[in-house]
C-alpha cells in the first residue's frame, strides 16, 4: 500500500517555471503523483505507454520474415526502412489469430480479421441486426488505468471520413471492418481520421473557440446540471424500451458517464496541461489530400499525445482491413486489396511489397520521432510498447497464422527489443497482449483465444 506523502512531492508548475522553458520534461519520480506511479509503472519512473497499429491486407511475407533469429537478424526489403532504429524493433514470428478464420462462417476474412485483431474474438456474422465482437486489449487497459490521464485512450486512423457506400465484406456489418478498438461486445470505439479533430481533442481547443467565449464559465458550470437531467431522461426512457433498445440506452449512459469523467479530468489536468509544451504545429485544417502527409500528421499527433501524457493507450488503424486504396505516388496504381489476391504473380507481389515498405517507412518515421523525445534518462520510445501488425499474413490465401508482427520500444525496461523471435506456429497473438497488459499494471487473465502470456519478449 502506497501512502502518498504530499510534502515530499515537488509542485510541478513551479518546477517548470524554474526551468523557464517548455522543452521535453524530465520525469523525475518525485514529481509524479503517487497514484500514477502505482498504476502505470510499478518500478517508478516515467509512464509506460501501449500502442497498437493495424496495417491491412497482410504482407508479402517472403520479404518480411528475417531468415535468422536472435539479435543478429537480417532485415528483408520491407523491413529495411527500420534499419536506423532496429535496436528498438523486435520481429515476432509464428503468432496467429485463429478466430479470424472462417470456422464455418464462409467468406468475410477482412471483416473478421479487422475486428479480431485486438479482441481475439470470432465475431458474429451479421449485416447489422445483432453485432457481437468483444472488448479489445486497449479498452481493457483504458477501463483500469485510463483515469490516470486526461484521455483514457485515443483511437486514430488515417482513413478519410467519407465511408464507402454500400455493403462491406461478405455479409459482415461495416462496424467490424472499420473499428479495431471495442469498448464491449456491441460498441466500437470509432477512430478519428481528421487531424483537426484529433488536435482539438488533444489540446482541448474547443475551449478557445471565440464563438463560445461569451458566457463560457457559466456554461461550463452548468454542464453538470444538464447531464443530471438527461441521465434521468435516459433512465426513465430505458424502462419503457425493449431489450436491444435498452442496450442502446446503456451506450448513451456510458457515453454520458465518460463525458462527465472527461470534464472532471480536464479540470484536474488543467494546470498540468497548461504547462505542457504545445506541439510546434498549427491546428491542421482537415485531412491533407496527400496520403503520406496525412499519415505523418496523424503520427505526429500520436507522438505528441504520448509525449504530453495526454493518454497512455492508443490504437492506430492506419487503414481498415481490405482497404483498396491505390498508391500512385509510389507507382502502384492498382487497389491494394485487388493486388493482395496476387495469385502468385511476381509483378503483383512486388507491388504489394512496395506498399508494405512504404508503410514501414512511415512506422520508422513514428519510431524515430518517439526516440527523439527525451524523458528522464531515456526516450518516450524507451517507455512505450508499440505493436505493429496485421491479422492477415498472406492476402492471397487470407492466412491468419504466422502473422507479420513487430513489437517496438523498450516498455520502460521490461522489453528486450532488437531481436527476431520465432514462436511455435499457432501461438495466439492475444498472448502477446496479455503480456503487455501485465506490464501496464493491468489485470487481465484472458482475451479471446489466449492461452497464457507470451514469453521471450
Amino acid at each position: 500500500m502506497l501512502i502518498p506523502d504530499k510534502s515530499l512531492q515537488l509542485p510541478r508548475r513551479s518546477f517548470l517555471r524554474g526551468l523557464g522553458v517548455s522543452i521535453a520534461l524530465p520525469f523525475l519520480e518525485s514529481m509524479l503523483p503517487s497514484v500514477v506511479k502505482a498504476a502505470a509503472s510499478p518500478m517508478g519512473g516515467p509512464p509506460r505507454r501501449m500502442v497498437f497499429m493495424y496495417l491491412p491486407n497482410g504482407m508479402d511475407m517472403e520479404n518480411w520474415t528475417p531468415s535468422a533469429a536472435g539479435d543478429q537478424f537480417d532485415l528483408p526489403s520491407i523491413l529495411q526502412p527500420l534499419e536506423p532504429i532496429r535496436k528498438q524493433v523486435s520481429v515476432l514470428s509464428g503468432l496467429a489469430h485463429v478466430n479470424a478464420r472462417a470456422l464455418g462462417d464462409g467468406a468475410g476474412d477482412h471483416a473478421r480479421a479487422n475486428a479480431c485483431f485486438l479482441t481475439g474474438i470470432h465475431v458474429r456474422k451479421t449485416s447489422g441486426a445483432d453485432i457481437q465482437a468483444g472488448i479489445s486489449a486497449d479498452q481493457i487497459a483504458a477501463l483500469q488505468i485510463g483515469k490516470n490521464t486526461r484521455l483514457p485512450s485515443l483511437e486514430l486512423s488515417c482513413e478519410t471520413t467519407t465511408r464507402q457506400a454500400g455493403s462491406c465484406d461478405s455479409g459482415y456489418a461495416c462496424a467490424y471492418q472499420h473499428n479495431i478498438s471495442w469498448r464491449n461486445e456491441t460498441t466500437p470505439m470509432p477512430p478519428l481520421g481528421d487531424p483537426r479533430l484529433v488536435f482539438e481533442r488533444l489540446f482541448t481547443t474547443s475551449d478557445e473557440d471565440p464563438d463560445l467565449a461569451a458566457g463560457r464559465e457559466l456554461r461550463q458550470s452548468l454542464r453538470g446540471s444538464i447531464l443530471d437531467v438527461v441521465r434521468e431522461d435516459a433512465k426513465a426512457f430505458q424502462k419503457r424500451l425493449g431489450a436491444t433498445d435498452r442496450r442502446k440506452m446503456d451506450e448513451y449512459l456510458t457515453g454520458l458517464r465518460e463525458t462527465e469523467v472527461a470534464i472532471q479530468q480536464q479540470a484536474k489536468f488543467k494546470a498540468e496541461n497548461a504547462a505542457k509544451p504545445r506541439p510546434e504545429m498549427e491546428k491542421p485544417e482537415g485531412i491533407p489530400g496527400d496520403m503520406t502527409e496525412h499519415i505523418r500528421l496523424m503520427y505526429d499527433l500520436l507522438a505528441f499525445a504520448l509525449q504530453t501524457d495526454s493518454t497512455r493507450i492508443a490504437t492506430m488503424m492506419v487503414l481498415h482491413e481490405g482497404s483498396n486504396r491505390p498508391y500512385p505516388f509510389i507507382g502502384v496504381t492498382d487497389g491494394h486489396h485487388d493486388l493482395s489476391h496476387h495469385g502468385n504473380s511476381a509483378e503483383k507481389k512486388e507491388k504489394i511489397a512496395k506498399i508494405n515498405r512504404f508503410h514501414m517507412e512511415q512506422v520508422a518515421y513514428l519510431l524515430t520521432k518517439l526516440q527523439g523525445m527525451k524523458e528522464g534518462f531515456g526516450t518516450v520510445l524507451d517507455n512505450s510498447m508499440v505493436v505493429v501488425g496485421s491479422a492477415i499474413a498472406d492476402g492471397n490465401a487470407h492466412a491468419h497464422h504466422d502473422l507479420p508482427v513487430l513489437l517496438c520500444g523498450g516498455g520502460g525496461g521490461t522489453l528486450k527489443p532488437g531481436r527476431h523471435v520465432r514462436y511455435q506456429s499457432e501461438t495466439p497473438m492475444t498472448n502477446l497482449y496479455l503480456s503487455l497488459l501485465d506490464r501496464m499494471g493491468v489485470k487481465a487473465d484472458r482475451l479471446g483465444d489466449s492461452s497464457g502470456k507470451l514469453e521471450r519478449i
Binding site: 447489422g128 464507402q164 466500437p188 479533430l197 444538464i226
Partner: protein, 825 residues
Amino acid sequence: MKSRSSQILPLALAVGLLAALAACTPPVVSSSPEATPAPSVEVTPAPATPPPAASEAKLEERPARIAAQIPTPEFTGDVKPLLENYCFKCHGNGKKKGGLSLDAFASMEAALQDQKTWGHVLQTLRVGDMPPDDEKQPSLEDREKIMTWIDRVVFAVDPTNPDPGRVTIRRLNRAEYNNTIRDLVGVDFQPADDFPADDSGYGFDNIGDVLSLPPVLFERYLAAAEKIMSLAILNDHKPRPTKIYVDLMQIEGGPKTGTTSVARKIDENESTIMMELPVAGEYAVKLTAESEKLGGEGAKLEWKFNGLTLRTTELSGKRNAKDTLKAALRVDKPGTYPLTLRVANPLPTPETRDGRPLNRSLTVREIQFISPPLPLKAPPSQYKLFAPGRGQPNLELAAKAILADFGKKAFRRPLSPSEVDRFFWIAKQAEKKQATFEQAVQTALTAILVSPHFLFRGEMQPEPDNPKSAHAVSEWMLASRLSYFLWSSMPDDALFADAAAGSLRKNLAAQVTRMLADPKADALVENYAGQWLQIRNVKLVQPDARTFPEWDEALATAMQRETELLFQKIMREDRSVLEILGADYTFVNERLAQHYRIPGVEGAAFVQVALPADRPGGILGHGSFLTLTSNPTRTSPVKRGKYVLENLLGTPPPPPPPEVPDLDDKNRAELKGTLRQRMEQHRVDPTCASCHARMDPIGFGLENFNGIGALRSQDEAGPIDSAGQLVSGEKFQGPAELRTILLTEKRADILRCATEKMLTYALGRGVEFYDRPAIEKATEALEKNPNFSSLVMEVVTSVPFQMRRGEGDHRKFSEKKTTASLSAP
C-alpha cells in the same frame, strides 16, 4: 384478451387507410412508357376478420404463393418427393454440390432450424436459377409448393396475420443531425461534420442496430449542443468587437489575374479596398498572405489608409507558409474609407520564369477588420426560439412555453408537464448562478439537444419485450418515420399538425405528395440513391492516371451528378422506377458530353439529351456505375455483374468461398488471351463457375465501356466481344440487348429489388423473411403502376412501416393464433 386487442389495431389502421386513400387523387401522371393509370392503392393485408369488399377483390389477383386460401403444404407428402425428384441428383444421397445437401439434417427439427439453407433454396427457386437449364424442371405449381412450405413452415410467415417486425431505436446519423438542426434551430452550421463516421449495415447508414454511440460521440453531442445554442442565442448584448471580412473580388486596381473570393494578388501597382466602417474608433486589420522570395528578399507590403502611409511590413517568403500581417487604424467618424496596398520593393528588372515575367508579389488569402465594440442584434433564430414566450404573464411561464414548444419539435412529440418541469429546473439552476433570462433558457434548450429523446427516435410501445404484441405506431411516430425517410430530417409544422389532430393516416397520400414535392426531398437523392446506387463512391475511386489521363475531379463530379439527376427526375416527375435502367435520355454537361462523344453541349450546366445509339440509357450507360465497378487500370466484368445482381435485380451472388483457389497456380497453364478468354478459362473451375456464370456475362455485355465508362471497340488484347448469355438462358449482343432483356425478363426482379432497398432505408433495418408478404404486395402493385410515388406509397402503407411489435423471436409472433385457439374452451 391481449391477443385480441393486438389484432384489432391493424384492422382499425387498415380501415383508416382505406378511407384516406379513397379520398385522395391518384399521383400525377407520368409520361414514361411503362406507366399505366394508377390503380387505387391497396390496403395492408387485413387480419383474420373479413376485409372490406375492395380489398377482397384484390386478394384473388395475388399469386398463389402468398394467398391465404392455399393450404400449407406438408413436408413428407408434398415437399420431400419434389426435392427427391428435382434436387437430390446434386444435393442429396450423399452428393452436396456447391456445399448444399438437402437430406443430411440430423432431424426434422434441425432441418427447420436451418433458415440459412432454406432461405437460399427459396431465393434460387424464386429467380429460377435452379434446377439448371439442362435438368428436368418442376412445374410452376410445384415450385410454389416448395416455396410456400418454406415461407409458412420454416419462416412461419402468415399472410393473414403479417408480422410487422421491430426497428431498433435509431439515433440520428450525421446527415439527419445536420438537417434536423437546420430545421429546428435555423443556424447555418453543420455540427455533425465533426462527428465520427457512422457505421452502415445492409448498405445504408441509417440502420438502428449499427448506429452505435461511443463515448467520443457523446462528448461531441454536448459540445455541438453548446455551440448551436451559442450561435442561436446571444449570450450577452454587451457591445463587442465584430469581424468584418473584405470581399476580395471587390478590390480595385492591381493585377486581375487569378482573382477569386479566396485569393487576390497584390503587386507594385496600388490595389484599393473601399471599406465601410460603421462607427468611429480604432480598428485592427488582419491580413493573411503568402509570397515567394525573389532575389533573396521577401515582398514588402506598404499599407496606406485614407491616403496616409500606415506602415510597411515584410513577408517571410517561406514556401507553403502563410504570413499574418497586422495594422491598426483610427477613424473619427463612420464612413467609407480607402485602404491601399502595394508591394514597395519590386525588382528593378523583373526575372523571367518559363518565358513569363516574374516580379515580387503576394497572394492575399483573407483580410479582416476588427471593429471597436459594436452593439449586437439578436439573430433571427433567437426570435424564433423565444416567440412562444411572448405574451406570457411572467418569466417562469414564458420559459416553460418556450421549452414546451422547442421540446415538442426536438422530441417530435408533445412533452409531458413533468418533462417541461425537468428542463425548467435547469433554467432555475442557471438563474441561481446569476444567468440572464436568455442564458437560463439557453442552458435548458442545450439540455434538450443532449437528451436521448432528441438524439434517438424512440418509439414507445405498450409491451416492448413481447413479440406477440403488435400495434400501429402512433401518428407522432409515423410523422417522424415519414420525414426521416423522405427528408432525412424532422417533421415540419404541417406533419405535426396532422399528428396532433390524429389526421395523418387520413391525409397520408396528400402528405406524401406534398413531401415529395418539397426541396427537402432532395435528401432522398443524396442519402438514398447515393447509397443504393453507390454514387457517393464516385468521389472515392482513383482510376490510374496513366491509363486514364482524362480522369479528373470535374469528370467524377459530372458522373455523380448525371446519376443523381436521373434519380431526381424520376422522383420529381413521378416517372417509372424502371427508368433507372430504362431511361432513353440522360444528363450531361460539356465535360461529360465530350466523354460520351455527344456533340453540341457547352458549359458547366447540365442539360437533358437523347442518347446516341452506342450508349444505353439508364444506369448501365452511366459513367458513375461503369467507373465505380472498375479496377484502377481496367474494367472488371465481375464487379459490374455483381453490382447489377446486388443493387438492381436483388439477387446477389453468394460470397466467394473462404479459401479462394489459387487461379494462377504454378501447376496450371498460364491463362492467355483477352480478359474475357482468361475469365472463361477460369470458370472451368466448378467452385467458381456457379457464381461467376451469373456475374460475368452481365459484365461482358458492358465491355464496350472502358474503366471510366468511355466507349471503346477494342481493348489491349483485341476487338471487344460484348455478346453473352445470362445464366437463365437469354442471349444478347451488346449492352442495348442486355438492357432490354433485363427490363423485360427481369422486370419483376427489378421492381422487387427497388422495393426491398427502399423498404430497408425507410425502416432503418434489414429486410427479414417475415417481410415477404409486404414486399410481394408492393411488387405486385408496382407491376401495374411502377411510378415513383407508387413505390413510396407502397412502402409507407406497408405493414412494417405502419406497425411494430415487441422484441423477441419472430416465430413467436405467428404462434399467437395457435396459442389462442388452443386456449379457447
